[in-house]
Each structure stands twice: as structure tokens, then as C-alpha cells.
Amino acid sequence: MPVPVEQYLLLGAVLFVIGMLGVLLRRNAIVIFMSIELMLNAVNLTFVALARHLDSLDGQVFVFFVMTVAAAEVAIGLALIVAIFRSLGTSDVDDAHMLRG
């Protein structure tokens, strides 16, 4: 018996909110990073579910884009975090506020 699309969407929304709260509340850069990945994958899930539901390939194609972007983001983001860690000695994002106005 196929799972109804609403449940997929609900799961996506829950995952997205968890990810968002993680981004907003945690201070460790690595954790924030993982939370962002969680949000992206929540969106991916929603895309795939709707693509299936609407019988259209567009959503699936978009998922590939998102995954590509996410991969690139991981590469650059981790590099940045390492660089920040090297120069500041911490991965706490609240300590990296040199761009304050």
C-alpha cells in the first residue's frame, strides 16, 4: 500500500524545521553545517514526493541540482570552517564576527 503524499510532506516539514532550529540554536559550525544539510535533504524529499505525486520529472531533476550544490557547499564550507578554525582556534560561529558593522 503506497504511502500517501501528505505523510512525505509532513516528514519533510518536520525535518526542515529540525534543521532550521539546529541552524538557529547551535553554535558549533560543524553542527550548523549538518543542520543545513538536513534542511536541504528535507527539501529534496519534498521534491521527490511531489514529483511522484504530480507525475512530473521536474522535481527529480531539481533534486540533482540541489545535491550537486550541496556537494559543492560541503567542499567549500568545510574548507572555510577549517580555515576559520586554524585562524581563530575555535569552530564557534559567534566568535567569527569580524564583519560586524
Binding site: 541552524v23 553554535r27 559567534d94 564576527h97 564583519l99 558593522g101
Partner: protein, 638 residues
């Protein structure tokens, strides 16, 4: 003939180029003779041209084919071409002839100057420019020559540039001339918009078609240029200062040739001047006023060159008086004789200065070698210079039968018979003053006892300097007799007749002999007064000075005109420039620009507080924004 004309013009320029190109090869002295040769060849060719052209020019002027087009834009057409007629040919002969003699003389005068090569380059460039001025067949070429001679004048006045006074004199000459050129340029523009051409032949043919008001404006504007270049009131102030240049330069540029350019220009444009209603009277009045004004300054000057400088201003005034009353031929005649006797006087004074300098150097005296108070008794020590100087002074004073006598008398006669009695009286008084100061100068310099050790030890200049003096003396003495007789009907009058035939007025109805006698008496009286005061000591000059102290001081200080101009124009301009630069520009205009930037910066100080630097804060803001958007869409856009 065309090739000949071009060669006459271009050979002095070739002299410039050769001297610049061979600067590293030729010894300095040779550079001087190379330049001299260039002008000499030019003069010889001018004589050849004169021989060839005598018959051919009778009918009409000769205009060369355009060498090329200087500019052609729509209706603005300026060809590079030359015009030869009796007037320009006469000017060419004077410029190259007197110029050649002065080049020769300069080889002696400048022999020990380290800048001799530079000097001769400038001098050759000057001859080229002056020839361009008189030969050009349109107003643009005239103006080009006009400005280039001004440049040479600037460079030569400030020739000994290490003295800031000389540099300032050169700058003053150029700038005052530029003020005159301001009028001249506008006159040229107006000629073009009125007649649609700048070529002499077109303009003069159409002269009658313009309205009298336009013609008056054109001629007055051109005359403003002439007052600058020919040192007339109110722009004469640069010429006395121009004496800072080497003395041969004063002779060539600031007496014989360049300063007469204004007279030439008006004579050239006589078709316009004759047709303009009020301008001639203005020109004549300015000329007469300048003549008497400058003469009244000359009588008290103590610098040997300053006397001659003011005398030049005064004599140029006579020429303008002449063109103003329509006596064009007389003006050119006076220009012609003046070129000889004034060049002679300047070169003679140069010889004196040269010798005084050397003598002062030998005796170790520190005196101004140009101050006549240190001279005296030089006739015995420098006979050739002295006697030729006497001839020059006599011609300047207008003693009977000298060249200056005939030409000046003609101007006065034409003024008188033209009905300008007042101007005639001014001219006659000036003649008296002229005779007085020229002999005052001669007596102070050459007679009596030497008043300094340098004057005692002065000796005659070398032949390279005295021979030109003698040649000039021959002309200064004889030019009137040979070219000016019979009165108003001599060789020079016949020669120039075709140029001016359309505008010549012959004022008959009086007895010219009567005026001739008056002129002679005036000249002799002036010379006699000088003799009485400075030789016989009938009256002590010092006592006279004391008695007329206020007048004397006024004259000696040149009526304080320089000071007046300084207070009226120069210092206000300095102040205005500083005000504009440091108040208007820095504070007002730039202040407004920077004010805009300041306002933006103040605004940004407020806004940048939003940039807290915490990534989480940004994320929260973003999340809130998304929530608001979602709420907005869900509620159906409120």
C-alpha cells in the same frame, strides 16, 4: 617670382633649423655667422625681387598660389599664400636689411655670451615671423606672424633669464600683447562673419558692403591689437620694460620692426579704415596722445635705453597719428626712416653700454652701465659711435634735412591741412620735446667730462659693431633727401602710390614751406635748449629738477601708470584667483561634493548597526522574513 618670395620667407627659418640641427657640430661663433648669412641671403633675394617687381607691380599686387590649405571648413577658408605689393616689399626690405645689419652687429655684441647660439636661433626665428607677418595674404597668416614675433620678443626679453626681473619683463610683454590680441582676434572673427572671407583681396573688395557700425567695430577691434603690439596708450607699458633684453634686440624688435606691425596692419587694412566713420579719429587721437605722453616721460629718464624706449613709443604715436588722418604714405615713410635712425640709436647705445661694461669690469667699479649719470665725454673715446649717434639723435629730433625731418614734417603737415589743428599742436609740442630729449641724451652721454672711472676708460667697439652703425647713419641722414624729395612727391610716395591710390587725400590749400620752417624752428629750439642746459650750463639741471619737483617726479616715475595698473588689474586678479581657488573651489563646490558624501556616510552609520556579525542573527532574520512571507501568501495577501 613666387619661388623667390617663398625663399625670402623660408631661408631665415632654414637658419633656425640648421642652427638647431648642427648645434653639436658648429662652434658657437659660427652659429652667429650662419644666422647672419641666412638673413643676408634673404635680403639679397629681396633686392632681386625688388628689381624684378618694380615694373610688374605697377598694375596690381602679386599673390602667390596657395602652398597648401591651412583650413577649409564649410565657408571658412584659409590658404597659405603670400602677397607682394609695394607695401609688403618695402617692409621686407626694411626687415631683412636692418635685420641683416643688426645680425652682423650682434656677432660682436654677443661674442662672449654663452647663450649666443640660442640668441641667434631666436633672432632668425624673429626675422621669419616678421616676414610672415608682412607677406601673409590673409588675416590668419598676419595673426600667426603677429603672435610669433611676440613669442620671439618674449624669449629675447627674458634672454638673460637668471635675473627674475628680465623674466618678468618678458612675461609682461607677452601678456599685455595678448590683451591686445584679444581685440585683434575678435576683429578677425567679425571680418569673417561680415565678409565671409579672411583673404585680403576678398575682404577689401567687399569693404563697402558692410554697414558703417560693423566697420567701426571691426577697425576698432583691430586697433586694440595694434595698441598692444605697437605700444600705444593704454597698452604701451610693456615696451619700456622690454629693454631688459640684449640691446640689438631692442634695436631690431622693439624699435625698427616688430613694434611697427600695428602701423603696417592698419596700412594694410586701409580699405576698412578709410570706410569706417569714427575709427580714424580715434586712431589719430590715441596716436597723438601717446606721442606727447611718452615724450614727456622721456625727457627725465636717466637710463640710456629707457629714453630711447619712450622715444619709440612716442614716434609710433606719430605713425598712428598719420594713419589716423589718412596720411598712410607719410606713416609708412616715417616707419621707414624711423627704422634706420632708431636702430642706429639703439645700436649706438648698445655700443656705449658694451664699452661701459667692459671698462667697469676693468676698473672694478660697480655701476649701472646704462645710467647716463655715469657717462659723459665719450665722444672723444668712442668717436665712431659718438658721431653716428649724433646723426641718429639729429634725425630723431628732426633737425632740417635729416631723414626724420622730412617724414615727421609730412605727418604734421598732413594733420594740419586735414583740419586737425589741435592734433597738430600736440604733434608740434611733441616735436619740441623730442628734440630736447634726444639732444639731452647725446650731451649727457658724449660731451662734458667723464663722470665715472669706467667712462674715462671706455674705448671704441670693434669694427663688426661700428660698421653697421655707419651704414645705418648714412640712411638715417640721407633717406629723407633721397626718397622724400620733392615734398610729398618723392620716390617713396611714387612707390607706395599704387597701394594707397584709392584712399589718398591730398590736402592742398596751404603753404607747406611755412610749416617746414616752423618744424625747423621747433627742432632747433629743442636741441638748443638741451645745449643751453647740458653744455653751456645756462641753468643748473639740478635746480630745474628742484623747482619743478612734483612735475619732475611725475614724469620720472612714468606717471605711476605701472602702479595704477598694478592696483587696478594685477593685484585684484591675484586676489580673485586666490579667492576662487581656495574659497569657491575648495569650500563651496568641492564642499558640496564632499557634503553629499558626508550625508551618505552619516546615513550608513545608522544602518550598519544592523550588521551584528553573528551568523545566527542573520539566519534568524532570514527565517523570520520567510515566515512573514509565508504568512502573507497563506492569508491571501491580507
Amino acid at each position: 617670382m613666387a619661388t623667390l618670395v617663398w625663399l625670402i620667407l623660408l631661408i631665415p627659418l632654414a637658419g633656425v633649423v640648421a642652427n638647431l640641427a648642427l648645434a653639436k657640430v658648429l662652434p658657437k661663433r659660427t652659429a652667429g655667422w650662419l644666422a647672419t648669412a641666412a638673413v643676408g641671403v634673404s635680403f639679397a633675394l629681396a633686392v632681386v625681387l625688388f628689381m624684378q617687381a618694380r615694373g610688374a607691380l605697377k598694375e596690381h599686387a602679386f599673390v602667390t598660389d596657395p602652398l597648401y590649405t591651412w583650413v577649409l571648413i564649410d565657408t571658412l577658408y584659409v590658404p597659405i599664400q603670400l602677397l607682394v605689393d609695394q607695401l609688403s616689399l618695402l617692409m621686407v626690405l626694411v626687415v631683412t636689411g636692418v635685420g641683416f645689419l643688426i645680425h652682423v652687429y650682434s656677432n660682436g655684441y654677443m661674442a662672449h655670451d654663452e647663450g649666443i647660439r640660442r640668441y641667434f636661433v631666436y633672432l632668425n626665428l624673429f626675422v621669419f615671423s616678421m616676414l610672415l607677418l608682412v607677406l601673409g595674404a590673409n588675416y590668419v597668416l598676419l595673426f600667426t606672424g603677429w603672435e610669433l614675433v611676440g613669442l620671439c620678443s618674449y624669449l629675447l626679453i627674458s634672454f638673460w633669464y637668471t635675473d627674475p626681473k628680465n623674466a618678468a619683463a618678458g612675461r609682461k610683454a607677452f601678456i599685455v600683447n595678448r590683451i591686445g590680441d584679444f581685440g585683434f582676434a575678435l576683429g578677425v572673427f567679425l571680418i569673417w562673419t561680415t565678409f565671409g572671407s579672411l583673404v585680403y583681396t576678398d575682404v577689401f573688395e567687399a569693404a563697402g558692403t558692410a554697414t558703417p557700425a560693423t566697420l567701426t567695430l571691426i577697425t576698432l577691434l583691430l586697433f586694440v591689437g595694434a595698441t598692444g603690439k605697437s605700444a600705444q596708450l593704454p597698452l604701451y607699458v610693456w615696451l619700456p620694460d622690454a629693454m631688459a633684453g640684449p640691446t640689438p634686440v631692442s634695436a631690431l624688435i622693439h624699435a625698427a620692426t616688430m613694434v611697427t606691425a600695428g602701423v603696417y596692419m592698419i596700412a594694410r587694412s586701409h580699405a576698412l579704415y578709410a570706410a569706417a566713420p569714427t575709427t580714424p579719429l580715434v586712431v589719430a587721437t590715441i596716436g597723438a596722445l601717446t606721442a606727447i605722453f611718452a615724450a614727456s616721460i622721456a625727457i627725465t629718464q636717466l637710463d640710456i635705453k629707457k629714453v630711447l624706449a619712450y622715444s619709440t613709443v612716442s614716434q609710433l604715436g606719430y605713425m598712428f597719428l598719420a594713419v589716423g588722418v589718412g596720411a598712410y604714405v607719410s606713416a609708412i615713410f616715417h616707419l621707414f626712416t624711423h627704422a634706420f635712425f632708431k636702430a642706429l640709436l639703439f645700436l649706438g647705445s648698445g655700443s656705449v653700454i658694451h664699452s661701459m661694461e667692459h671698462a667697469a669690469h676693468e676698473t672694478g667699479e660697480h655701476i649701472d652701465p646704462q645710467d647716463m649719470r655715469h657717462m659723459g665725454g665719450l665722444l672723444k673715446r668712442m668717436p665712431q659711435t659718438g658721431w653716428t649717434f649724433l646723426i641718429g639723435a639729429a634725425a630723431l629730433a628732426g633737425l632740417p634735412l635729416t631723414s626724420g625731418f622730412f617724414s615727421k614734417d609730412e605727418i604734421l603737415a598732413q594733420t594740419f591741412f586735414g583740419g586737425h589743428t589741435l592734433l597738430y599742436i600736440v604733434g608740434a609740442v611733441t616735436a619740441f620735446l623730442t628734440a630736447f630729449y634726444s639732444f639731452r641724451q647725446f650731451f649727457m652721454v658724449f660731451t662734458g667730462e667723464p663722470r665715472s672711472k669706467a667712462a674715462e676708460h671706455a674705448h671704441e667697439s670693434p669694427a663688426v659693431m661700428t660698421v653697421p652703425l655707419m651704414v645705418l647713419a648714412v640712411f638715417a641722414l640721407g633717406a629723407g633727401l633721397v626718397f622724400g624729395l620733392p615734398l610729398e612727391n618723392g620716390a617713396i610716395h611714387h612707390w607706395l602710390e599704387p597701394v594707397f591710390h584709392d584712399v589718398l587725400e591730398h590736402h592742398e590749400g596751404g603753404n607747406p614751406m611755412f610749416l617746414l620752417v616752423i618744424s625747423s624752428v621747433i627742432a632747433l629750439a629743442g636741441a638748443g635748449l638741451a645745449y643751453a642746459i647740458y653744455v653751456l650750463r645756462a641753468a643748473d639741471p639740478e635746480a630745474l629738477v628742484a623747482r619743478f619737483a612734483p612735475l619732475y617726479r611725475l614724469s620720472y616715475n612714468k606717471f605711476y601708470v605701472d602702479e595704477l595698473y598694478g592696483a587696478l588689474f594685477v593685484r585684484p586678479f591675484f586676489a580673485l584667483a586666490a579667492f576662487l581657488a581656495f574659497v569657491v573651489d575648495k569650500l563651496v563646490i568641492d564642499g558640496a561634493v564632499n557634503g553629499v558624501a558626508t550625508i551618505l556616510r552619516l546615513g550608513s552609520i545608522v544602518l550598519r548597526r544592523l550588521q551584528m556579525g553573528y551568523a545566527r542573527a542573520y539566519a534568524l532574520t532570514m527565517a523570520l522574513g520567510v515566515l512573514i512571507l509565508v504568512a502573507y501568501f497563506l492569508s491571501g495577501g491580507f
